[in-house]
Subunit: 503 residues, 2 copies
Amino acid sequence: MKTYQTLAKLSERAHLLDGISGLLGWDQETYMPSKAAPIRAKQRELLAEFAHTIKTSTEFEKTLASLIDIESGTILMKESDPAKDASLRSWRRDFLRAKKLPTSFVQEFTRLTSEAIFVWDKAKQENSFANFEPHLEKIIDMLKQKTEYIGYKEHPYDALLDEYEPECTTKDVEKLFYPISQEIPKLLSDLIERQRRHPKKLPNIKLSADEEIEISKKVLNLIGYDWSCGRIDLSSHPFSSSYHPYDCRITTRIESHGFVTQVLTTLHEAGHSLYEMGLPVEFYGTPLGEAISLGIHESESRCWETRIGRTEAFWKFLLPIIQEMFPGKCDSLQADQFFKEMSEVTPSLIRTDSDEVTYPLHVILRFQIEKELIEGSLKTKEIPERWNALMQSLLGITPPSDREGCLQDIHWAMGGFGYFPTYTLGNIYAAQLFEVFQKRHPDWQERLQRGEFEFIKEWHLREIHTYGRRYTSHELIKKITGQEVSSQPYINYLGEKYRHIFH
Amino acid sequence: MKTYQTLAKLSERAHLLDGISGLLGWDQETYMPSKAAPIRAKQRELLAEFAHTIKTSTEFEKTLASLIDIESGTILMKESDPAKDASLRSWRRDFLRAKKLPTSFVQEFTRLTSEAIFVWDKAKQENSFANFEPHLEKIIDMLKQKTEYIGYKEHPYDALLDEYEPECTTKDVEKLFYPISQEIPKLLSDLIERQRRHPKKLPNIKLSADEEIEISKKVLNLIGYDWSCGRIDLSSHPFSSSYHPYDCRITTRIESHGFVTQVLTTLHEAGHSLYEMGLPVEFYGTPLGEAISLGIHESESRCWETRIGRTEAFWKFLLPIIQEMFPGKCDSLQADQFFKEMSEVTPSLIRTDSDEVTYPLHVILRFQIEKELIEGSLKTKEIPERWNALMQSLLGITPPSDREGCLQDIHWAMGGFGYFPTYTLGNIYAAQLFEVFQKRHPDWQERLQRGEFEFIKEWHLREIHTYGRRYTSHELIKKITGQEVSSQPYINYLGEKYRHIFH
């Protein structure tokens, strides 16, 4: 027991450092004076170095090795209990990943991507993929090298995916994404046809920065967001950032995209924040106090955004409140009609602007290209052509420029290959989980329309948050739903919902 | 040269950690969710541990010892230059201080004072010195132990003072404070008499939090504060906080104390911030990129607050701007009459509410008590009685309660003995420096009245900021003024200024 505590203590130190770095990242996007950027980079680099040193230290390794066989993963701890065993397996997993990457490699990759972000930003403004290409090529070369350091069983891309979605392989993702890539384009054509009978008149009500914050705070108050552990600020892109269950923060946009987007974005970020707030504080610093994966994180945020926020029941509750907040701006709107209009589906060039139905197609496109780049079947310079061809086949549109095509996202410049798939994994998990939630609470829509949210939060807390990282994402889904992970519930949900709206 | 660079690199790492901790402190007072306090304490404790480890590491010691004899202070570096020599001396000094305190002592003291702050806060609310006394007694016991660890030549209090005002002794402070304790009470009686002929009609214009920030930002814009390296936020007490010349932040109060206080407080904090912004960025992480002492820091803030802000010329410039900002609130005010009214001198119970003339008496009282406690001639339980007696003899008033007496300040609960004297040292230095400034710029009042500030900033930058910690405070004063440190210019300034206002 004492040895386990030693390990937990070391792990907590690394978590504290990661949390501090997270706060510095939040500050960077919200309040930091502009000229401080280079010194901030140095500060975060140093914290990463200290955290890495702890995680790969001989002390950590020796303590870990006395409780779990590092080679085989066999638990050696006497008086073992399943939760602690799970913790040991996660520590072993993280340790092995961390140990495999030479420090010099990590530092070089950090430098390369820091530079690449600036280059990408400029290249995007100038609409020149050619200017970004050499940097991207170097990143891909290093990522290929990384897959060799990390190792993989079947596909080199496994090694990258595994960072964001532990234990999930390229084959798993392909199996889940394939039916989506087949079904959703058909659904899309059908919906476009059906929407012709439903003319869109959605008013585009823009808000000031103050009003954006006001509406977000209102929504957060309504769902019972705990301000003693959280806050909201303005940044150029909305994000959520957490350092401990008692310090979870979200942001919203400085520029208005209209109040529907504002509400949905707030719910999305609140979903992330509620997950972190719900992690068991007594296990802070150990895997039992951590989130499972980006996919499960995204399933929490997507649940609040789409399964709660994109429902007629929710807008029947919220619209009158918004009408009262901003008199004269949207007085004549009717919730049912308004909900139908906000639900309109249109293929769009930009992932972050896309609707619930087309979003996964944007992700599948990126997953396909990442996989091909890492396995070497696609060359960096061929990206724009491949991108445009996939856009045409999946969404039926072709970007007029790379700025609206393969240059739109920051992820590749950051070296974040393997990240995109987790967005859609989140939707897939959320759909499976929501089926169970619906069975438990068949009256959820009536309650939602009355503005009840506590039972929703409580379900997530009890079923998901409280376990920390005790299970992998696929184990958790199995535990809650009794089923293997499958994209069928997600496909069914989209089809039924949107065919019902546009009947 | 390479060895010096190694030392600078190590020192920079410690500075980065200290800067991060500073930012966490800023966040704690501005935006942190309330429940995050305990985890924030853990984060900062860890950063302090890492910084301490670097500063006292064998690597640091060995590298330092190859450039300067740690025992004697003799420079060993070939191709020495005076700036680098000064740097080495500062490093040696800091190293010796850091080495002398056992880690267990530092940790225990941190725990004790963290707890004491809560106890003090409660005791102050309950107006019960008895409840705070046991904690304060422990703090004083530990401080006495600290003076033995650190060592001192003449008075144990030297060891504490030296932390905030390097190389300045108890005897130095006594010599500087004695004439003030003799002259200022006489000036005060005289002024009270004179003020009877000048009835005070100063309007007490309260501002909202938004207006407080607005007026502060206006003042900062007017003096040319660089927003690319700085910012201002709200907190319960105004403070300044810097992590690098490119990231310096100040705060202002959430609760209004009227616009005169608002303007003066802003100038005060701006003075601190401008000092940090003015430190040579190329020497960041080494003593040549650091501020000299709290006393010199305070001389910069007091200069902006009192020598610029508390002048008729400044208000002739600013008042019309404020009248334009808040129409209908103070339209009828005349700058000359207004300045006279805001300059009224009154003995007050609370240090932070006191005016320019009585402020040093509050500091002298605290210095006297701290010294007696550390030398053992005063017992903790005798503090209230001693406090009240000194208040009577220095300011002619007696606090009706300890809440308005010896419980008013947080400093002792924080263990900050030796800190208070630097406030008045700041005024003393500022007065000496301002004599030189006035000679260099005899037309400063006319220029100030026209709203010129650049020449003031430029003088401070060139004469003070640019040298970092190359000189001690007393060496710097000697270098700029040609004189030893003396409180006579400060006493003369107060007497002449206030006898002129209330002639």
